[in-house]
C-alpha cells in the first residue's frame, strides 16, 4: 500500500465520483425477470468501454462469498463440480511458481490460481457457478519480520473460498448441504466479511503474457522492476490478492477481499459500478451467474463453459458428467452464447430502442428463429444463437416484433478456431 500510494498520492483524496453512475440494477434486465419492462436507459449508463484508459475496478455486488472448511473439502467438491479442484489442495512446496523469486511478508512465493467451475443437475443442466480461491495459510507466508514462516495453524485443512451468485447463495448452500451426508465439510456464508472484486479493461487485456497487474508492474526504480514490491503491491497485508481471472485473460483480475476495504491497486477515480463490468462481459460474450446462465435450463457447453475453463474432461465423475462428456466428445454444439449488437436500419447503434431479454432473434427474410436474447443492456447484449446462421448464414438478423432493430452477432476473439470451423464444415457439406 505504501509503494502504491507514493505514485498516486495526488489521486488518493479525490472523491470517487468520476465514473460513478447511480446504481440502477433495474436497467440490467435479465433473462428471468419477466416482469421487467424495457425502460428508458439510464443517461449515465456506460455506452462503451473502448475509450476508457487504465484498468477499472469494481465491487461485484451480484456475487457473495462462501467459505468451505474441513478435511473432506477437496474430495467433496471434486465429486460435485465440473472442474478439477485438486490443484487447490497442494501442500507446502508445491503450487504454481510465481514470477517473483522473493517471497514478501504478505505474499507467497507460490500460490494456487483460482478455479472456475459449475454445479450441474444430474441431467447436465447448469445450476450455479463458483470461482474457488485458496487463501494462503499463515504458515506458508513469511511473518512480519520476514525472517521465518508465520504461525502454523493447528488444523490440517485449508479453507477454500468461493464467490457465487449472491441472489442464490442460500439456495446453493442448501443444495450443497443436501449432498454433504457424512463428509466433513463446513460451509458458511461469508458475504458480510468478504466481497468479490474485478479489475478489468484498459491495457490489461493486451498484456496477455504478463501475470501481474500493469500498475504493479510499474513498481520499482527506473529501468527495472522490483519483483518483491510488485508481488507485495498486488495483495493486502492479510494475503488477499488479485488473481488472474481463471476464465479469460481479457477479463482481467479477480479476487476476494475483506469487505469495507478497497483492494490494493484500485485507483479511486477508476472504481466503477458493476454495470461497467457487465458491459465488458457483454463485449466478450461471457455470462456469469445463474440469471445470465438460466438455472436448470442452460446447457453448459452452449454457454461456452468449456472455453472458459470451467470444465475438466479428465477429472473423472461429477454430477452431470455423462451428458457434458458425451456432448463434448460426440456431439456438435450448434448454438452458442455470442455477443449481440442492436442497431437500427441505418446501421447506427439503436440507443433509443431497448431490447428485452427473451426476445427472439430471427432471420429477417425467412422469419426463421435463430436464437434468443439472454441478457441486454442498451445496444449491447448476449444471446444464444445458432452459430451457423449467425456467422455463415449471411442473412439480416432482427428481433421478432421489433421491425426497426437489426442484430449484429459478433464472434468473440477469444473463441477457439474449432468452434467456428466445425460449423463451417457442416454448412459447407449441407
Amino acid at each position: 500500500m505504501q509503494r502504491f500510494s507514493l505514485r498516486h498520492s495526488n489521486w488518493w483524496n479525490l472523491n470517487r465520483v468520476y465514473f460513478r453512475v447511480p446504481s440502477s440494477t433495474t436497467a440490467i434486465a435479465s433473462f428471468h425477470s419477466g416482469e421487467e419492462e424495457p425502460r428508458n436507459p439510464n443517461p449515465n449508463r456506460p455506452k462503451t468501454l473502448r475509450d476508457v484508459d487504465g484498468p477499472l475496478a469494481c465491487l461485484l455486488k451480484n456475487r457473495g462469498v462462501i467459505r468451505f472448511d474441513g478435511p473432506d473439502t477437496i474430495k467433496f467438491l471434486q465429486g460435485l463440480l465440473t472442474n478439477d479442484v485438486r490443484s487447490l489442495a497442494f501442500q507446502n512446496g508445491q503450487g504454481e511458481i510465481k514470477s517473483s523469486s522473493v517471497p514478501t511478508p504478505n505474499q507467497l512465493l507460490k500460490y494456487a490460481p483460482p478455479v472456475y467451475s459449475a454445479l450441474l443437475t444430474p441431467q447436465g443442466r447448469f445450476l450455479y457457478d463458483l470461482v474457488l480461491y485458496r487463501p494462503p495459510l499463515p504458515s506458508e507466508k513469511l511473518d512480519r519480520t520476514g525472517s521465518g514462516p508465520g504461525a502454523s495453524s493447528s488444523s490440517q485443512s485449508t479453507p477454500l473460498f468461493a464467490d457465487v451468485d449472491a441472489s442464490l447463495l442460500d439456495e446453493l448452500l442448501d443444495c450443497l448441504k443436501k449432498y454433504r451426508l457424512r463428509a466433513k465439510v463446513e460451509m458458511e456464508d461469508m458475504s458480510k466479511e468478504y466481497a468479490c472484486w474485478q479489475c478489468f479493461g484498459g491495457n490489461l487485456s493486451d498484456k496477455s503474457s504478463l501475470d501481474e497487474e500493469p500498475d504493479a508492474a510499474s513498481i520499482g526504480w527506473g529501468g527495472s522492476v522490483d519483483a518483491t514490491g510488485l508481488s507485495a503491491a498486488e495483495g493486502n497485508n492479510l494475503g488477499w490478492r488479485w488473481y488472474k481471472d481463471p476464465r479469460l485473460t481479457s477479463l482481467g483480475f479477480r479476487g476476494i477481499f475483506p469487505s469495507k476495504t478497497v483492494p490494493p491497486l484500485v485507483e479511486s477515480d477508476k472504481e466503477v459500478e458493476e454495470e461497467h463490468y457487465l458491459l465488458w462481459r457483454l463485449e466478450k460474450g461471457v455470462a456469469e451467474g445463474s440469471t445470465e446462465i438460466p438455472k436448470g435450463e442452460a446447457i453448459p457447453l452452449e454457454y461456452n463453459l468449456a472455453g472458459l475453463n470451467a470444465i475438466s474432461f479428465d477429472k473423472g465423475c461429477y454430477v452431470g458428467q455423462e451428458s457434458v462428456a458425451r456432448t463434448h466428445h460426440r456431439g456438435v454444439i450448434r448454438k452458442r452464447l455470442m455477443p449481440l449488437k442492436f442497431v437500427n436500419k441505418r446501421d447506427e447503434e439503436a440507443e433509443e430502442k431497448w431490447v428485452a431479454p427473451k426476445s427472439e432473434v430471427v432471420d429477417v427474410k425467412s422469419d426463421k428463429k435463430v436464437g434468443t436474447v439472454t441478457t441486454a443492456m442498451g445496444c449491447l447484449g448476449m444471446g444464444l444463437v445458432r452459430v451457423e446462421d449467425a456467422l455463415f448464414g449471411g442473412g439480416l438478423l432482427g428481433i421478432r416484433g421489433e421491425e426497426d432493430v437489426r442484430v449484429k452477432v459478433i464472434r468473440p476473439d477469444w473463441w477457439p478456431l474449432e468452434w467456428v470451423q466445425q460449423q463451417q464444415q457442416q454448412s459447407a457439406t449441407a
Binding site: G79, L80, P122, Y179, R180, R182, V319, G320
Partner: protein, 131 residues
C-alpha cells in the same frame, strides 16, 4: 482389497428415498437390508483369509459424487460406530450408518463374479425409475 474401493453410482430408484433423517423411526422389516447367499459366502471366504482373526464387517456407505450425485462404497471395517445399523445373517454382519441407511433401505447386497469384475453390488428391490 482393490475390488472394495470401487464406487458405483447409486441406483436411481434409491435417489428419491432420502427422507428426514428420522432416527426414531423403527426399522420396518421391509426396510431391512438383505444379504444374498453369494454375499455371505464371499464374506466367509474373506473371514477365512483374515490372519488377524478379527471378524470384519462389511460397511456400506453412501457418499457424494458420481454422475447422479451419490454413489455407494463398500469397505471392510472392524469398528462399529454408535450411529450404525447392523444387519446380521448367518454370522455375517453388514453395517450401515444412519445417514446412508436412508438411501439404501430395503435393498439387497449381492456379490457378483463377472469377467469384468467381481464385486459386492447393491440391488434395489423396488421398481427402478428411469432417469
Amino acid at each position: 482389497m482393490p475390488f472394495l474401493s470401487h464406487s458405483t453410482p447409486l441406483p436411481p430408484s434409491l435417489l428419491f428415498h432420502q427422507k428426514n433423517y428420522s432416527q426414531q423411526e423403527s426399522s420396518k422389516p421391509e426396510d431391512a437390508i438383505h444379504l444374498t447367499e453369494n454375499c455371505i459366502r464371499r464374506m466367509r471366504e474373506l473371514h477365512a483369509k483374515e490372519i488377524s482373526g478379527g471378524e470384519q464387517m462389511l460397511r456400506l456407505s453412501v457418499e457424494t459424487g458420481g454422475c447422479s450425485g451419490f454413489q455407494y462404497v463398500f469397505l471392510l471395517d472392524d469398528m462399529q460406530n454408535p450411529d450404525d445399523r447392523v444387519f446380521e445373517k448367518d454370522g455375517v454382519k453388514l453395517v450401515v450408518d444412519n445417514i446412508s441407511y436412508d438411501f439404501v433401505k430395503g435393498s439387497t447386497v449381492d456379490y457378483v463374479e463377472e469377467l469384468i469384475r467381481s464385486a459386492f453390488q447393491l440391488f434395489s428391490s423396488k421398481k427402478w425409475i428411469g432417469v
